[in-house]
C-alpha cells in the first residue's frame, strides 16, 4: 500500500540523481509506472472481495501530531477501481511517450524528457495518494500535490496559448482548494478529528454547520470536477495541454473532485448533502445541457471533447445528487467509464492533431475513415462509447444516473428530480447529436476536399517530442493509389473489433496480440514508413512545405501519406478499448465492488 504511493515519488526522486544528468532516461518512466501498475494489480488480486465496504490494506501512522495529521491510507471498493485506473492511465501515457521518443528520436534533451517524466511521476504520486488518503488533511495535501506538476505539464509542453491556460487552470483550482480547506477545517474544528472513517460513521455536527461545510467542500470539489458555472478553466487547459496532460487531466484529475463527493462530502455531511442536493442536481443538469450545446458549437476537436467532459461530469454529479444507492453507484461507474473513454478520446485527438497539424474540425475535413482507417475507426468507437451506446461502458453511468433521478432519496423532492431526469435525458440525446455530427464531419465524407493546414506551432510540434507531422495534401494524391492503400489496410480494420470484443482475456495477452497486429500493419506500410523517415530527416520544422515537394519529386508513385496507427499508440489505446467493452458488457464487475460501500455509506445512521 505504502509502496504503491511511494513508488512514483521514489522514482521521481531517483530521476534527480546526477547519474541521469546527461542521458535520456528512455523507458525509465515506463518502468516506474509499470512497477506501480504491478503493485496496483497485486492489490487488485489481494483485495478481499467479500467485504469491499471494509477498509483494506490500511496504514495509520501519526505524521504531524501538532496538526492531528495522520498518515492514514486505505482502500475500499470505491477507491480500488480508481487506483487501478490511475496506475493504468499513467502507465499507458508513459508507454505512449516511450514509443514516441524511440521513433521520433531527435534532440530529445531539447524538450527535457527528464523533466517531463519527473513531473508525470509526481503527478501520479499525487493522484494515487488522493484516492487512498483517509485523513482529511492528508487528502487535501495530495489533492494539492497535483497542481504544480499539472501546471508545468501545461505551461511547458502545451500549445500556443499554454501560459494563459496554465495560469487559469492553477488559479481556478487553487481557489477551489482554498475553499475546500476551509470546509475541511470547519469539520475539524467542530468534531476534533480528521479521520474520514470515523467521521463517516458518526455525524456529530449540527445541521447548519453541515450545510456550511458542505457548501465550502462542495465548491472546492466542484471546481475540480468541474461543475457547470465553474468549468471555464477546463476547455482551455485541455486544448492547450499536450496529449498525455489531457489524458491524465480528463482521466484522473477530474475524478478527484467526484471522488471527494463520494468519500467526504456525502458520507460525512449527510444533512448538508440532503439540503444542497437539489442545487447540485440543478447545476448538474444545466451542465449536461450546456456541455452538449457548447459541443455543438465547437470547431476544435480537443475543445469539443473537453466540453463533452463537462456534460459527462454533469451526469456523474446528478447521480450523486440523487443520494440513492443507484445514483451514487451510477456516478462511481460513470467516473471510471469516463476516465477510460475520455482518456481514449484525448489520445486519439492528440494523434489526429499531430498528423494533421490542427485539431480544427473544418480544416480537418472529412474522410478520415478513408485516409486513416485505424484512427478513424477508433475515433468512431470512442465517440460511440462516449455517447452512451448500450453495450459499452458509457451507457451504464448515464442510464443508472437517470434511473436514480427517477426515484431519488425520500427526503428529496421527486417532481424536481423527475424534471432533472427529463432534462438530463434530453442532454443525452444532444450528446448523441454532437458526437454523430462530429463523426460525420471528420470520419465520413470525401477525403481531401479540404486540404489540411500547416502544422500549428506548438511545443508538441517541435521535433523531438513528437513524431514529425507528416502532413501532405491529399489533393495531390492519385485516387487509384489511395484506394489500393485502403484495401491493404481494410483487411486489418475488420479484425480489430473482433480481437477486442472476443478476447477480454488478461491484458498482457491482448497487448501482445495488438502489438503483433500493429507490426503486421506497419510492415505492410513499409513504403510510407520510408517516406516518414525521409521526412523526419529533411528537417521537420515545417514539414508541410518541403517534404511534400521533395517526396513528390523523388517518388511520384508513393505520394505522401498520413501515417496510421503506430504500435506505441495502439499499445496505449487497446487496453482502454478492451476495458470499455468489458465494463459495457459486464457492468457488475465494477458495481459489485462499489455497491456494498455505497450501501454502507448511505445506510449508516
Amino acid at each position: 500500500m505504502v509502496v504503491l504511493v511511494a513508488l512514483p515519488l521514489v522514482g521521481a526522486a531517483g530521476l534527480m540523481a546526477p547519474a541521469f544528468a546527461g542521458r535520456v532516461p528512455r523507458g525509465y518512466g515506463l518502468a516506474v509506472s509499470g512497477a506501480t501498475l504491478a503493485v496496483a494489480v497485486v492489490l487488485l488480486a489481494g483485495f478481499d472481495y467479500s467485504a469491499p465496504e471494509r477498509m483494506q490494506f490500511e496504514t495509520d501512522v501519526p505524521w504531524i501530531p501538532g496538526l492531528d495529521l495522520r498518515f492514514h491510507l486505505g482502500l475500499d471498493g470505491i477507491s480500488l477501481p480508481l487506483i487501478v485506473l490511475t496506475a493504468l492511465l499513467s502507465f499507458l501515457c508513459f508507454g505512449y511517450l516511450a514509443g514516441r521518443s524511440s521513433q521520433g528520436g531527435i534532440r530529445l534533451e531539447a524538450l527535457r524528457p527528464r523533466a517531463l517524466v519527473f513531473t508525470l511521476l509526481v503527478l501520479e504520486f499525487g493522484m494515487i495518494g488522493t484516492f487512498v488518503a483517509l485523513d482529511l488533511l492528508l487528502f487535501f495535501v495530495f489533492f494539492e500535490v497535483v497542481l504544480i506538476p499539472m501546471y508545468f505539464v501545461i505551461a511547458i509542453w502545451g500549445g500556443t496559448q499554454r501560459r494563459a491556460a496554465a495560469i487559469k487552470f492553477i488559479l481556478y483550482t487553487l481557489l477551489g482548494s482554498a475553499v475546500l480547506l476551509l470546509g475541511l477545517l470547519l469539520i475539524w474544528s467542530q468534531t476534533g478529528t480528521l479521520d474520514m472513517v470515523a467521521l463517516a460513521q458518526s455525524h456529530p455536527m449540527s445541521r447548519a454547520t453541515q450545510i456550511i461545510a458542505f457548501i465550502a467542500i462542495g465548491l472546492g470539489l466542484a471546481v475540480k470536477t468541474p461543475m457547470w458555472p465553474l468549468h471555464t478553466w477546463l476547455p482551455d487547459a485541455h486544448t492547450e495541454a499536450p496529449t498525455v496532460g489531457s489524458v491524465l487531466l480528463a482521466g484522473v484529475l477530474l475524478k478527484m473532485g467526484t471522488y471527494g463527493f463520494a468519500r467526504i462530502a456525502i458520507p460525512i455531511l449527510p444533512e448538508g448533502a440532503a439540503t444542497i442536493a437539489p442545487w447540485l442536481g440543478a447545476f448538474a443538469v444545466v451542465g449536461i445541457v450546456y456541455g452538449a450545446l457548447a459541443c455543438l458549437a465547437q470547431q476544435d476537436l480537443k475543445r469539443m471533447i473537453a466540453y463533452s467532459s463537462v456534460g459527462h461530469m454533469g451526469f456523474i454529479l446528478l447521480g450523486f445528487a440523487t443520494l440513492t444507492p443507484v445514483g451514487i453507484n451510477a456516478a462511481l461507474f460513470g467516473n471510471v467509464a469516463h476516465g477510460l473513454i475520455t482518456g481514449l478520446l484525448f489520445f486519439i485527438a492528440g494523434a489526429i492533431k499531430e498528423r494533421y497539424g490542427t485539431a480544427d474540425m473544418t480544416r480537418l475535413g472529412g474522410g478520415m475513415l478513408g485516409r486513416l482507417p485505424y484512427v478513424g475507426s477508433l475515433l468512431t468507437f470512442a465517440c460511440i462509447a462516449s455517447l452512451g451506446l448500450p453495450g459499452l461502458a458509457g451507457f451504464w453511468g448515464e442510464m443508472l444516473a437517470l434511473q436514480g433521478a427517477f426515484q431519488p432519496a425520500a427526503i428529496l423532492s421527486r417532481p424536481l428530480f423527475l424534471v432533472f431526469m427529463t432534462i438530463g435525458g434530453l442532454g443525452a440525446v444532444l450528446t448523441a447529436a454532437y458526437f454523430l455530427l462530429m463523426l460525420s464531419r471528420i470520419t465520413h465524407g470525401h477525403p481531401g476536399t479540404t486540404p489540411p493546414g500547416p502544422p500549428v506551432e506548438t511545443a508538441e510540434g517541435i521535433p523531438g517530442l513528437t513524431e514529425p507531422v507528416a502532413a501532405g495534401t491529399a489533393t495531390a494524391e492519385d485516387p487509384l493509389l489511395l484506394s489500393t492503400a485502403n484495401v491493404v489496410r481494410g483487411e486489418a480494420t475488420g479484425e480489430e473489433p473482433f480481437v477486442d470484443a472476443l478476447v477480454p482475456s488478461p491484458m498482457d495477452d491482448t497487448l501482445g496480440q495488438s502489438a503483433a497486429l500493429a507490426r503486421r500493419n506497419a510492415a505492410g506500410d513499409e513504403s510510407s514508413d520510408l517516406i516518414r523517415e525521409s521526412d523526419s530527416a529533411a528537417g521537420p520544422k515545417h514539414p508541410a512545405t518541403t517534404p511534400q515537394t521533395a517526396a513528390g519529386l523523388e517518388d511520384p508513385a508513393t505520394a505522401p501519406q498520413l501515417t496510421d496507427v503506430m504500435p506505441s499508440e495502439l499499445a496505449a489505446w487497446v487496453p482502454l478499448v478492451v476495458l470499455t467493452v468489458l465494463f459495457g458488457l459486464w457492468p457488475s464487475a465494477l458495481l459489485g465492488l462499489t455497491d456494498p460501500v455505497v450501501q454502507s455509506l448511505l445506510g449508516a445512521p
Binding site: 501530531p65 496538526l67 499525487g126 504544480i148 511547458i156 501560459r163 488559479l171 481557489l175 475553499v179
Partner: protein, 559 residues
C-alpha cells in the same frame, strides 16, 4: 540597591554585545590587508552568533525558566525572562542572523563597504532582536526595539556610493522614528493610567474593573447587566487606555510593515543591500511581532475588545494590499518586499483570533452570554459554561500563550526559513545581474539548476503549495485557528489572497524554467564570495526541507 544579575540568563545577548565590540576593536588592530581582515571579521561574527545560538539551545534543552532584573521583594515582576517563548524567538533570530552574516561575507567581498562597521552594526541589531522577546517591561521593550532599528538605518546607508541606498536609509529612518514616537506616546499613556511598566503589573492594573463585578457573579448579576448596557463590560471604559492601546498597536504595525504603515517597504528593500533586506524581512519583522505578541497577549489581553477588530482589519488589509502590490513588480527584491508585507498579514491574522477568543471569554461573564460551539476556546476544552473574567485571566496566565498565538509564531518560523532561502538565492543571482530584475531569472534552471531548484522550492513554499509543504502547513495552522475562532470572513479574505499570491510566485517560478532570450550575456562574472552564499543557501534549504517533511519540529516545540 544592588541587583543580582543572572549572567547565565543574559548570556546570549551578552555574547553578541561583546562580539560586536570585539569586531570593532579587531577592525582597528588587524593588519590592513583587506581580504584577510574581511574574512577574519566575518568568521568572528559568525562564531559569536553561533555561540549565542548554542547558549540559547542549551537553555532551551534544560527547559528552566530564567528570570533576572527582578523588582526586589516581588519575584513576579522581572524585566528579563528567558522562557520558551523567548527561546523560540531568540533561536529564530540567531539562525537567521547566521545566514545573514554568511550573506554579508559575499556582499562585503566587493571591498567598497567598511567591514568593521558593518559587522558591528549587524551584531548590535542581533543583540536587540535577542533581547526583545526576553523583555517583560515596556521600557526594556522600547529600548530593545530601538536597538534593533537604529543600526539598520546605518547598515542600509553603508553603501555610500549608491544613491538609492541613502534614499532608502532616510525613508526608513523617518518612518521608524515616527513610529517610535507614536509608540512611546502610547506607552506613556498606558504608564500614566496604570502606573506600571512591567507587563504583568500592567495586566493586573487593567483588570480590577471586572474582578469587582465578577468575583461574586452570583450576587452582582445586576451590576454586570448595567455595565453591559453602558458598553463597559468588554473594555475598561477609559478612553485614554483605548488610545494608548491603539497607539502601541500602530507603533508595532510600522515595524512589521503592516498596512497602512507599509509604504516604506518597497523602496527600502530595493535600496538596501540584499543581506540587509533579508535582515529587515526576517529578523526585524520577527522582533516586531515578538513585541506585538508580548504586549497584546501579556499586558493588554483584558483590552482585547479594543484591538481584536483592529488587528483583524489590519491583517486583512495587509495581506490584500501586499499581494496586490506584489503582482506588478518587476524587481526581484521589491517583489519579495511586498510579498513579505502580505505574509505579515497572514501572521497577524491568528492574533486577531486570539483576541476574539479572549473577547468571547469576556462575554461569558454576563449571564446573557450564549455558549455557541464557536465560542468554546481551545484551552478551556469543555468549559462551555459561564467563565468568570478572573478565571479567564488565570487561564491565560497559566498557559502562557494561547493556541492562536502559537499559530502566529509557527507561521513566523516557517516564513523565516522560506524567506531566507529566497533571499539567499537572490543574493547569489544579484551578484551576476546587478539590476536584479525578475527577467534576469529566465532560464536559471539551465545555467545553475541547483540555485533554480532552491529558489523554486522557496517560492512554492511561500505560495503554500506542495511540494512546499512547509508553507502549506503554516497556512493550514493559521486557517485552522481562524476557522476555529469563528472569523469566517477573515478566512475567506485569506483564501482569496492565497490565490493572488500564488499568481506572482508562480510567474516567477515559471520564469526560472523558460529559456532565456538568446543573445543576452549581461552576466558579470564576479565569483568572489560565492562560497558563503552557497553555504547560506544550503543551510536555509536544509531548514525549509526539514520543516516540510517534519513540521512537528516547530509545532511540537510550541505545543
Amino acid at each position: 540597591m544592588i541587583q543580582s544579575i543572572d549572567y547565565w540568563a543574559i548570556a546570549a545577548p551578552l555574547i553578541l554585545a561583546l562580539t560586536s565590540g570585539l569586531v570593532l576593536v579587531l577592525d582597528v588592530f588587524l593588519p590592513n590587508r583587506a581580504g584577510a581582515s574581511r574574512t577574519v571579521l566575518g568568521l568572528v561574527s559568525l562564531v559569536g552568533v553561533l555561540a549565542a545560538l548554542g547558549v540559547v539551545v542549551a537553555q532551551a534543552v534544560r527547559g528552566d525558566e530564567l528570570r533576572t532584573f527582578c523588582v526586589p521583594g516581588d519575584a513576579a515582576s522581572c524585566s528579563f525572562v528567558m522562557d520558551s517563548f523567548t527561546e523560540i524567538f531568540a533561536g529564530l533570530t540567531l539562525v537567521a542572523g547566521a545566514v545573514v552574516v554568511l550573506l554579508s561575507m559575499a556582499e562585503l567581498a566587493g571591498g567598497r563597504i567598511p567591514v568593521g562597521e558593518w559587522y558591528f552594526l549587524l551584531l548590535a541589531t542581533l543583540t536587540g532582536a535577542v533581547l526583545l522577546p526576553a523583555a517583560r517591561d515596556l521600557v526594556m521593550l522600547v529600548v530593545a526595539l530601538e536597538l534593533v532599528s537604529l543600526p539598520v538605518f546605518a547598515l542600509t546607508a553603508l553603501r555610500r556610493y549608491d544613491g538609492r541606498a541613502s534614499e532608502a536609509s532616510l525613508k526608513l529612518f523617518v518612518v521608524s522614528v515616527v513610529s517610535t514616537a507614536v509608540m512611546l506616546f502610547g506607552v506613556s499613556l498606558l504608564y500614566g493610567m496604570t502606573g506600571a511598566v512591567h507587563l504583568d503589573r500592567l495586566a493586573a492594573a487593567l483588570r480590577p474593573t471586572y474582578s469587582s463585578s465578577s468575583t461574586s457573579y452570583g450576587g452582582s448579576a445586576m451590576l454586570v447587566q448595567q455595565a453591559e448596557s453602558t458598553g463597559a463590560v468588554l473594555h475598561n471604559g477609559s478612553a485614554v487606555v483605548t488610545v494608548g492601546v491603539v497607539l502601541v498597536v500602530a507603533g508595532f504595525a510600522f515595524k512589521v510593515a503592516a498596512v497602512p504603515f507599509h509604504f516604506w517597504a518597497g523602496d527600502v528593500y530595493e535600496g538596501a543591500p540584499v543581506p540587509v533586506a533579508a535582515l529587515l524581512s526576517v529578523i526585524s519583522k520577527a522582533a516586531g511581532f515578538a513585541g506585538l505578541i508580548l504586549v497584546l497577549s501579556r499586558a493588554l489581553f483584558s483590552e482585547a475588545a479594543t484591538w481584536t477588530p483592529l488587528v483583524a482589519i489590519i491583517a486583512a488589509l495587509t495581506m490584500t494590499v501586499g499581494n496586490v502590490l506584489a503582482l506588478r513588480q518587476r524587481h526581484a527584491v521589491r517583489m519579495l518586499a511586498w510579498s513579505s508585507v502580505a505574509q505579515s498579514g497572514y501572521i497577524l491574522a491568528p492574533l486577531a483570533v486570539h483576541m476574539d477568543v479572549v473577547a468571547l471569554m469576556n462575554a461569558m461573564i454576563g449571564p446573557a452570554a450564549v455558549s455557541s460551539p464557536e465560542a468554546a476556546p481551545a484551552e478551556t476544552g469543555s468549559a462551555a459554561s459561564v467563565i468568570s473574567k478572573s478565571q479567564a485571566i488565570e487561564l491565560s496566565g497559566d498557559f502562557g500563550m494561547p493556541w492562536a498565538v502559537n499559530a502566529s509564531i509557527a507561521y513566523l518560523v516557517f516564513y523565516a526559513a522560506m524567506n531566507l532561502l529566497a533571499f539567499a538565492v537572490v543574493m547569489l543571482i544579484s551578484r551576476r545581474h546587478a539590476r536584479n530584475q525578475l527577467d534576469d531569472y529566465r532560464g536559471l534552471a539551465y545555467r545553475s539548476p541547483r540555485a533554480a531548484i532552491s529558489l523554486a522550492f522557496a517560492l512554492i513554499c511561500l505560495a503554500g503549495l506542495p511540494p512546499g509543504l512547509a508553507g502549506l502547513f503554516a497556512k493550514v495552522v493559521v486557517f485552522r485557528e481562524i476557522v476555529a475562532g469563528g472569523l469566517g470572513w477573515l478566512a475567506i479574505v485569506m483564501a482569496v489572497n492565497t490565490v493572488i499570491g500564488l499568481y506572482y510566485y508562480l510567474a516567477w517560478t515559471a520564469r526560472l524554467f523558460t529559456p532565456a532570450p538568446a543573445g543576452e550575456s549581461r552576466t558579470v562574472t564576479e565569483e568572489r564570495g560565492r562560497t558563503p552564499v552557497i553555504i547560506a543557501i544550503g543551510a536555509a534549504l536544509l531548514l525549509t526541507v526539514a520543516f516540510s517533511v517534519v513540521p512537528q519540529l516547530v509545532l511540537g516545540t510550541l505545543a
